[in-house]
Amino acid sequence: MLNEREELKKQAIALAHYLIKSRPKPDSIKLYTKAVRSKLPKHLDKADLKILKLSSRHPSLLASLDAGLAILRPDAELRRRIYIMFAVLESTPEHSDRFLSKKRSRLYIFRITGIGCRASMRSLVGMFLVKVLEA
């Protein structure tokens, strides 16, 4: 059984991998852990706990769960935690290029359409998962 700090560290790594496909620096993990421990409620409802557990066991489902929650329950605990990691990563110089505006290529409209389609697919899968977990 991992203690809370180790759990949050593992979660930080999984969230960073989901958002930027790479491992965060120790400073970013530390900042994430500190922010989560100070900002977020200690008592979580059952649905939030189930979603957090599932995302921790299967980090590959993070994107779908995030997308489903964005539509069904944008204030869910998982979304809050992803948001904190997002902010931590956005404010580190190593990852700034992944968050600054992107110059378009000639085919950018296909790229945007592709992102839109992927997001929609994730939302459908995610909504199904969230509904099942919350049932």
Partner: protein
């Protein structure tokens, strides 16, 4: 107890201007203020560099972008200071405890900071039209000279254009407008190409007057297009009330007393006694003055006056224009890449005056979006964060936020 000539309560825009007028007239002025301060922690941290360079190079950037311990992150969208960045958070410090306001359908923004709400003010300086001034019973000439005086003191950059009658009206003392960013230049050129048709519908567009210098003035530098306006005032190109109060402190006939929270006043013959509590020690002090100037904001001044007259039952009507943010996308500007030298404040004014009367005008300000970072908009999208970010990176250069007031 000595008697003070003029006692000004509050160091915001009104307090600073009132105090300057009195100090320049040669009378003795004391300013009482809570004066919440950033304690200089951010001034040392934020380099004199542009937003993009900071994003790419500065290791400590999280301290001012999201807070030292990410404590500047606010999950809620409304409420006191939800949109305020960490270096400006002192603007709302202590307001929850000293001046709480609870409402189900109204969110107030008040300040006890050194410089009041001017700490985070967006610098827009719209003048009322002659007809508006007449309508509320103010003297047009007095107002005009007051506008000129304030503009000379704080430095306003503006342009004479189609929207002037709604923005700067007859103002003479102003500096040239600052350069617009790419997106606003494009919107403005589109407006100009359709000028006649839009004017017939009562729609005009022009530059927004800003308390932001395009030329050096009295020790303050002209704006350097660093796009760090939500975080730093290092070159003082943007006028903030504390700049005026800092200057006033050099005058012998001005005294600034901070950490004083004024709770009530009592009129006694030709004088006024003002009671204030030191917010650190809890000590209560009474000040006596010949004239009292309350510059504690509409809500603060009303609260103070009602309490002073022991009136806890009157219900004051609160008049307030509805204000809405409307995100707009300019498709041609999407995916253009970040701009290194950019103006972060509102750049264009859009006015709708259907009957051309200048009294029922709806106005909107157009802002670009870059330095507030993706983290402030990403939660509004109905997508997962990773895809939302990928989309926003293309959209952001074409994004214009319209702040509309009807």
């Amino acid at each position: 107890m000595k008697t003070i000539d003029y006692l000004v309560v509050g160091s915001g825009c009104s307090g600073a201007m009132a105090a300057q007028t009195l100090v320049e007239a040669g009378v003795k002025v004391t300013m009482l203020d809570v004066g919440e301060h950033s304690k200089g922690e951010f001034e040392k941290l934020i380099p004199d560099s542009d937003f993009l360079s900071i994003r790419k190079n500065e290791l400590d950037q999280h301290k001012y972008f999201i807070g030292k311990d990410a404590d500047g992150l606010d999950w809620s969208d409304i409420g006191k200071g939800a949109q305020v960045t960490p270096p400006r958070k002192h603007m709302v410090r202590s307001t929850d405890t000293l001046i709480p306001l609870v409402s189900k359908n109204f969110s107030s923004l008040e300040s006890l900071g050194y410089g009041g709400l001017g700490i985070g003010w967006g610098l827009q300086c719209w003048e009322y039209s002659d007809k508006d001034i007449q309508k509320v019973g103010l003297n047009q000439e007095d107002m005009q000279s007051a506008y000129e005086l304030v503009s000379r003191r704080i430095g306003i950059s503006a342009s004479k254009d189609k929207a002037s009658k709604y923005t700067i009206n007859n103002l003479q003392a102003y500096q040239p407008s600052l350069r617009m960013d790419r997106n606003h230049q494009y919107i403005y050129s589109k407006y100009k190409s359709r000028l006649n048709g839009l004017e017939k519908k009562g729609i005009v567009m022009g530059r927004i007057p800003l308390a932001l210098l395009s030329k050096d003035m009295k020790g303050r530098k002209k704006y350097a297009y660093r796009d760090m306006d939500f975080y730093s005032d290092s070159d003082k190109s943007a006028w903030r009330p504390w700049i005026t109060v800092n200057n006033l402190k050099r005058h012998k006939n001005f005294e600034y007393i901070n950490r004083q929270f004024v709770t009530r006043f009592t009129e006694k013959g030709n004088t006024v006694e003002v009671t204030a509590t030191n917010i650190d020690s809890g000590d209560i002090t009474t000040f006596r003055c010949k004239k009292l100037i309350l510059a504690t904001g509409a809500l603060g001044s009303a609260r103070l006056a009602l309490r002073s007259f022991n009136d806890y039952s009157s219900r004051l009507p609160l008049l307030c224009n509805p204000y809405t943010y409307i995100p707009c996308i300019q498709p041609r500007m999407m995916g253009k890449g970040a701009e290194a030298k950019k103006l972060g404040f509102a750049q264009l004014a859009l006015c709708l005056d259907e009957d051309q009367s200048q009294t029922n005008t709806s106005v909107a300000s157009l802002y670009g979006y870059q330095s507030l970072m993706l983290l402030r908009t990403i939660r509004q999208l109905p997508f997962d964060f990773a895809d939302g970010r990928d989309l926003l990176r293309y959209l952001i250069t074409g994004l214009v936020i319209m702040g509309a007031s009807c």
